[in-house]
Amino acid sequence: MNFDLNDDQRAIKQTAREFLTRRYPLEEVRRLALEEERGFTDDQWRELSELGWPGLAVPEADGGQGLGTVELVVVAEELGYAVAPSPLHSTTSAALLLAAAGTDSQRERALAPLAAGERIGTVAVWDDPPGRSPSEAMLAPADDDTLTGRKVLVPDAGAAEIIVVVGAGGRLWLIEKGDRVEVTPTPGLDPTRKLYALELDGAPADELRGGNGQTVTRAHAQIATALAAESVGIAQRAMEMAVSYAKDREQFDRPIGAYQAVSHRCAQMLLEVEGARSAVLHAAWALDHDPESAPLAAAMAKAYASDCGFRVTASSLQVHGGIGFTWEHDLHFLLKRAKANAHAAGDARFHRERVAELIGL
């Protein structure tokens, strides 16, 4: 038993950290979030694609790197740590569902270009109005295999050309952006991941029929776990910022970190961040190696990391005091991403309900 990254995984982590630190300093994050319409540049996407990240967990046969969920969450945590705005998670999500349920021709047509970073993808989960949980989607196709209806809160849909649509009963369709699909931006809580509404007006929909319930469930669990990993990175960053501020900032002639009201708050952050990281790593490993325990592990990871992400970033804001509440400070990008992540792919309560079911409550 070895509950630690192996050398390859460590190397991936280090590369990601170095690359992201260089390319996504917080000034650049701010610029992308506030000034770039899609939240990223073509050059940035090309670089990410050259690193092989869009196809990281896609099978080699489909043009991906064929790595596992552990490698996926290693990169996702670093992306969270950098709060890097990028359509990577959206593209990965579409690719994972295609890999899980695409037919050979769908894989060739849509998955391979996603894995290569040639095209950007996303997944449209939420109806309008969105229900409580990602499994409440009601959209269903017409007899002529077209989709008509509205999907909301779709990340990166402005840039995405390949969209996997989730509908009633968990059915999945592949659509490509065209004239039967209207995309409108939605002002989002989290400016580092752009949201859109999709108006489908008889859009040709190609159902994904290549998988089964189990493969699709696994892909959803991978998506949720990757998002949880992002939140771990976000929380880690927010904690580091709090600790560093607590060491520097003096009030009443001593660093505020010398007061238990602050230092115990920071200790609590560590407890939650390390816990969330353990839960995410465990879920990722189970998704790769222990299919039986994987659904429970993933639900636990997303539930715990959702709460952790929000609580740690909010707690870091409290440590920062007034300055943490200002737009000019970078902390709010972390807080907003963490809060948005907490709601995406099923919130903590939804995943706790999954846990309750799975442990037979």
Partner: protein, 383 residues
Amino acid sequence: MDLTLTAEEQAFRDELRAWIEANHPGPKPDSDEAAFEFRRAWQRTVFDAGWAGVAWPQEYGGRGATLVEQAIYGEEMVRARAPALANGLGLAMGGPVVIAHGTEEQKQRYLGPILSAEEIWCQGFSEPQSGSDLASLRTKAVRDGDEWVVTGQKVWTTLAHEAKWCMLVARTDPDAPKHKGLTYFLMDMKQPGVQVRPLVQITGEAEFNELFIEEARIPNDNIVGGEGNGWAVAITTLAHERAGLALALQMELKQLLTAVIERAREQPYNGSTAAADEIIRDRLAQLYIETEVLRLNAYRGLTAQMKYGVPGPEGSLGKWHWAEINQALTELATEIEGPAAMARDGRWTYEFLRARANSIEGGTTEILKNIVAERILGLPRMR
């Protein structure tokens, strides 16, 4: 014990309620600037009718009402969703401080224009390096004949761009111990040495400002409470802020709570409504109770203040308790919204973000707990 209003209190309430109903100016305009002028006009109307400064002495233009009547005034204004008066800080802090520490000349000069909103007030206490530790402030004032020359930086200054007067605490004696060398000034904001820069918050709004003060000049007559006595005067200001706050905050909270409850009744949730969901129901009920407890504590504090002249221990807990409830309530509101909370256009995402500051603004929760522990429970200072 008697929680009903006396005949006088009822008469006061009825008269006020009728007056508000007849004079309510309707909803405020959308743009910030227009909204401010709207609130200024509203305060003028309130003032002309004799309802501004309800508890201030009549000789200075107030109504001479009791604290309970003042509370009724607040309840009624919130109840009718009347606009806030434009000169909030002048009314809640500036006026009371001048009444408590000002000279007769100062009272004559300043109080009237506060009530009529002719002159807006702002507060210059916090500095970038002095948040909770107010006495460590660095803005300095140097005597020059009949004037003082002030240089420094202030932060979290509400309405600075509209204000005529700033309640400014500055260091006049750099050699005195921290708490001793401070003086409380009324600084004219309309002078070249004062630059105002809006401070944008995480909500995207700019409720506050930074103040860059470069050799601004203040006549010696504008000192309140005497040279070197700034700490004591500032503490009075803060005491007035917190005493009034507990009541005002619970009223706003109650409105927010009502809105969340309404929202929960409408929001579809697992096949029924959010209000029918056991967990949300239980949490909302608890927040309802907490809000009531906050209100009851505030009124108990009021009675104590009327009876003994000073606010009772209950009052000091209000600000902290309010922050806790308001943060929990806005978090719950986003959970009721569900995934839609990821969008920025709804009310609740805004309220959620705004509430993050509640445990910081007007005294951090950590400082308030220190105060409760040390001054009420008599626990030793953490030194």
